[in-house]
């Protein structure tokens, strides 16, 4: 393998993959959400554009592309323009640290299915995904209007509050796996033979609820479905800038689903990885298992959205401060104790 | 099915007690088609309403209806007749008070007695121009604030004036 290919082409290819993979999932999500919500509600959803409406996201993208980009005169130009970029940037950059499978041997070259592996990969991903809060604040502030500002502030409080249970539950995983490296965590799940989701169900449930709140999705979608009364932080955005917010939200969802799968459900491992009788499952490439699991969690996102009413803001804050944080603290101490004793 | 047009003793009861309490105020009372209608003197409206609500138990004001008498009043008759539709629950007695009021005169507002009169009086003002004294904010309710004229008056044309406000 020539240095050119190994040192240039392959990294460039990986970068392209890191951009295309979440974007591709976003495209799938747009279609999936509308179809699944429609079917749950007893109607059909988009089924005209392309086979079963598969080309609907393309139609949406084209529509948003051609819409006029309106910006108010009093809006802060720089912040207004940069906030969609920030939100998108934080979601995409975190994907650099998300591993998609075990390294593949191609001849003498080991192709790693990630761009970077860091001993503190978990922390980095959490930190990067928190940058999106800045995008929200800037978007609300720069719009120079009461309602987006209030929506943005609410979103900030929501995201900041729910970061705490996320951090605590993620730490329990790190404790058990003795590592913050995502690849290591998956390998430990393989060697211990049980997925951490079954080992620590409380951590998983608290993490999942907090993650749904982090991504501003139903039933915690107050900042954006404020449009029932006051429109959310992306009111004043139109056209491609709005598309950025829209896609960034889905990309964030995919990121969170990936995290859940890696931390709690064995990443690219097939079910029951250490049971000899089921070793035929290993014939399916790890990436496929990974995709199946991610698709399940994305479907769960949509399912929850179609079913539950929306949380009011005070109930939302009460939930996290009265229930989730104490629960995750107790859970954390319990796991630490178990880890110390065993 | 109960005959709702029958004359029931409870109706007469309400009319008699009202006439007994306010002998000069009650100009006439009649029961037609099972409904009690009492004609009142304008000045006693507030007192009568309070009496009916507090002592006779007419706890609901269903509606305030204004009639424009321009075609039938001729000379000497007042322009508008304002009807107050009262209801006593439980007991199921209906009472209709009729008060005549001229074009430039004002009536006492029923809002201190019945809170549901608020918008009904605004509607009467908007559509007919009847003023209510003591109303906490008498202004138009259907028509735009700058509108001139009172649409439900008989002399207001059906198609509007000059093609609109």
């Amino acid at each position: 393998m020539t240095p050119f290919v190994a040192d240039f082409l392959i990294p460039v290819g990986k970068i392209a993959a890191v951009i295309l993979y979440p974007m591709g999932m976003v495209v799938v999500m747009i279609w999936l959400e509308r179809r699944v919500v429609a079917l749950i509600q007893g109607r059909l959803g988009p089924n005209r554009v392309g086979f079963q409406g598969i080309l609907q996201p393309v139609a949406d993208a084209v529509k948003l592309f051609f819409k006029e980009n309106i910006m108010q005169r009093q809006a802060d130009k720089f912040l207004f323009n940069i906030s969609p970029v920030l939100v998108m940037f934080s979601s995409l950059l975190a994907f650099c640290f998300v591993p998609l499978g075990e390294p593949i041997q191609i001849g003498s070259y080991t192709l790693t299915l990630w761009i970077a592996e860091s001993p503190v990969g978990l922390l980095i991903i959490l930190g990067l995904s928190s940058i999106s809060v800045f995008g929200v604040i800037f978007g609300g502030w720069a719009s120079n209007s009461k309602y987006p500002l209030m929506g943005a502030l609410r979103s900030v409080i929501q995201v900041l509050s729910y970061e705490i249970p996320v951090g605590l539950t993620v730490l329990t995983v790190a404790f058990i796996a003795r590592s913050m490296d995502l690849v290591e965590i998956v390998r430990r799940q393989e060697s211990s033979g049980v997925w951490y989701g079954f080992l620590m169900p409380v951590s998983f449930v608290v993490f999942w609820i907090s993650a749904v709140a982090e991504t501003n999705r139903a039933p915690f979608d107050l900042p954006e479905a404020e449009s029932e009364l006051v429109a959310g932080y992306h009111t004043e955005y139109s056209g491609m800038k709005f598309a950025y917010f829209y896609m960034a939200e889905y990309a964030h969802m995919v990121l969170v689903s990936s995290l859940v799968v890696i931390l709690f459900f064995g990443g690219w491992l097939p079910p029951f990885p250490s049971v000899k009788a089921l070793s035929f499952l290993h014939a399916v490439p790890g990436f496929v298992w990974y995709l199946i699991k991610i698709m399940f969690f994305l479907y769960l996102y949509v399912w929850i959205r179609a079913t539950f009413p929306r949380y009011r803001f005070d109930l939302l804050i009460r939930l996290v401060w009265k229930w989730l944080i104490p629960l995750s603290l107790v859970n954390f101490l319990a796991i630490a104790l178990v880890r110390y004793l065993l | 099915m109960p005959d709702t047009t029958a004359d029931r003793p409870e109706l007469r009861q309400a009319a008699d007690s009202l006439a007994g309490r306010f002998p000069e105020a009650v100009l006439s009372s009649s029961v037609e088609k099972g409904e009690l209608a009492v004609r009142l003197r304008k000045e006693d409206l507030a007192a009568v309403l309070s009496f009916l609500k507090d002592e006779r138990g007419f706890n609901v004001l269903d509606d305030i209806i204004v009639l424009d008498n321009i075609r039938s009043s001729g000379d000497g008759g007042k322009r508008f007749t304002v009807l107050y539709q009262l209801y006593q629950f439980p007991g199921f007695v209906r009472l209709r008070l009729a008060v005549d009021v001229g074009e430039n005169e004002a009536l006492d507002s029923a809002v201190p007695v019945y809170r549901s009169a608020d918008w009904a009086e605004r509607e009467a003002f908007d559509m007919f121009g009847v003023r209510f004294e003591g109303h906490p904010g008498l202004r138009r309710i259907y028509m735009p604030d700058e509108f001139e004229g009172h649409p439900l008056r008989k002399d207001f044309p059906l198609g509007g004036r000059d093609g609109g406000a």
Partner: protein
């Protein structure tokens, strides 16, 4: 700390549409201080129009008042005119009117519950409710050709008869509605989020409710057992056996619950009416040109939204001298401020949905 009041406007156009209604809110840090509804965007001058039409011509226009429950409006007006003109409606026609009115109540409550849920975020409930409502509207379409502005009740009786096939179809539909209701109730009744958003929100006590003139399911949710169908029965309602659902807290949850319970009672009434449908004429003899003797009458019925009243004054001609409609939503909307005070402003939409108003009725 100084009071920081912000003025917010829920403009005439907004996603949770109950019609074109404008709400001017004053909020202090999320808590609602004042709510001033501004109406009149849908004012069509109905009452003025009615004065220039004959009694019979007015009936189809009443459909357009509460457009989600057109038959109730028809019934209210027609009963008032019949009382004034002394027209005796045959028993079979009265029973058919009851069937139609109760089916209309079902359709109206399904829409009300659906929109209430949708405003609070449970989107699927809206569609489940409308799925059930579609079945009822199909019946109306088969009966007289229209789904929404039905004009299915005329002066003197009803325009068409219910033949065996239609009766069977109605029975099938009302047998299927409890299943849809069960779906909706599974999603809402015991749901923590739903209860958190509706219990204790938008409370109005019984005394205040009566004082504000509140009527209909909203009043019965505050504990006041006032139902015109029981108190001053019309159109043979006293021949049927049904309960009037009552709740005591007067919050959004109770208003939702009362409506759901009323739907079950409506199904009960329709079954009884169909079982006991008497033979006979479906309409009294009404002259082509209906001249009503002079007089005035005020008649009320229990429409799905509340107590609907019609005041009709006749001067002896074939055109009414004055028709005034007492619209339940008009009066109910006045209590919105009382209900919203002290609540968070995210609740305003839910409270408005639980009041179940229709702007066509408010604005005439």
């Amino acid at each position: 700390m100084a009071l920081k009041e912000i003025d917010l406007n829920m403009g005439p156009q907004h996603p949770s549409t109950h019609g074109v209604l404008r709400l001017k809110l004053a909020v202090d840090n999320e808590v609602v201080l004042r709510v001033v509804p501004v109406i009149g965007y849908l004012h069509r001058g109905m009452e003025k129009l009615w004065e220039s039409l004959t009694y019979v011509q007015v009936v189809p226009l009443t459909d357009r008042l509460d457009y989600l429950a057109a038959l109730s409006n028809n019934l209210g007006y027609v009963l008032a005119v019949e009382k004034l003109a002394g027209i005796e409606v045959p028993r079979r026609a009265r029973y058919i009117r009851v069937v139609l009115a109760e089916l209309q109540r079902l359709a109206s409550h399904l829409a009300a519950v659906g929109f209430m849920a949708n405003d609070i975020g449970a989107m699927s409930v809206l569609l489940y409710g409308f799925e059930a409502r579609e079945d009822v509207l199909d019946i109306f379409e088969e009966y007289c050709g229209a789904r929404l502005t039905v004009h299915g009740i005329r002066i003197g009786g009803v325009p068409h008869d219910l033949d065996g096939a239609l009766v069977a179809r109605i029975r099938t539909v009302i047998d299927g509605i409890p299943k849809h209701l069960a779906d909706i109730r599974t999603l809402l009744d015991e749901n923590r989020i739903w209860k958190g958003r509706t219990v204790g929100v938008g409370v109005i006590g019984a005394g205040d409710a009566v004082d504000y003139g509140l009527t209909g399911p909203s009043l019965r949710a505050s504990g006041v057992p006032w139902d015109i169908r029981k108190d001053i029965p019309y159109s043979s309602y006293d021949e049927f056996d049904f309960d009037v659902p009552l709740r005591t807290n007067g919050d959004v949850y109770d208003r939702y619950f009362v409506r759901v319970e009323e739907m079950y009672q409506s199904i009960r009434i329709v079954r009884q009416a169909l079982d006991g449908l008497p033979a006979g004429e479906i309409s009294a003899r009404v002259p082509r040109v209906l001249k009503v003797p002079p007089g005035e009458v005020f008649h009320t019925i229990e429409a799905p939204k509340g107590v609907l009243g019609f005041y009709v004054k006749s001067d002896g001609t074939d055109k009414p001298e004055r028709v005034k409609m007492k619209s339940p939503s008009f009066i109910n909307l006045q209590s919105l401020e009382h209900m919203c005070k002290g609540n968070l402003f995210s609740d305003v939409v839910g409270i408005l949905g639980s009041l179940d108003i229709v702007l066509g009725e408010i604005d005439k």
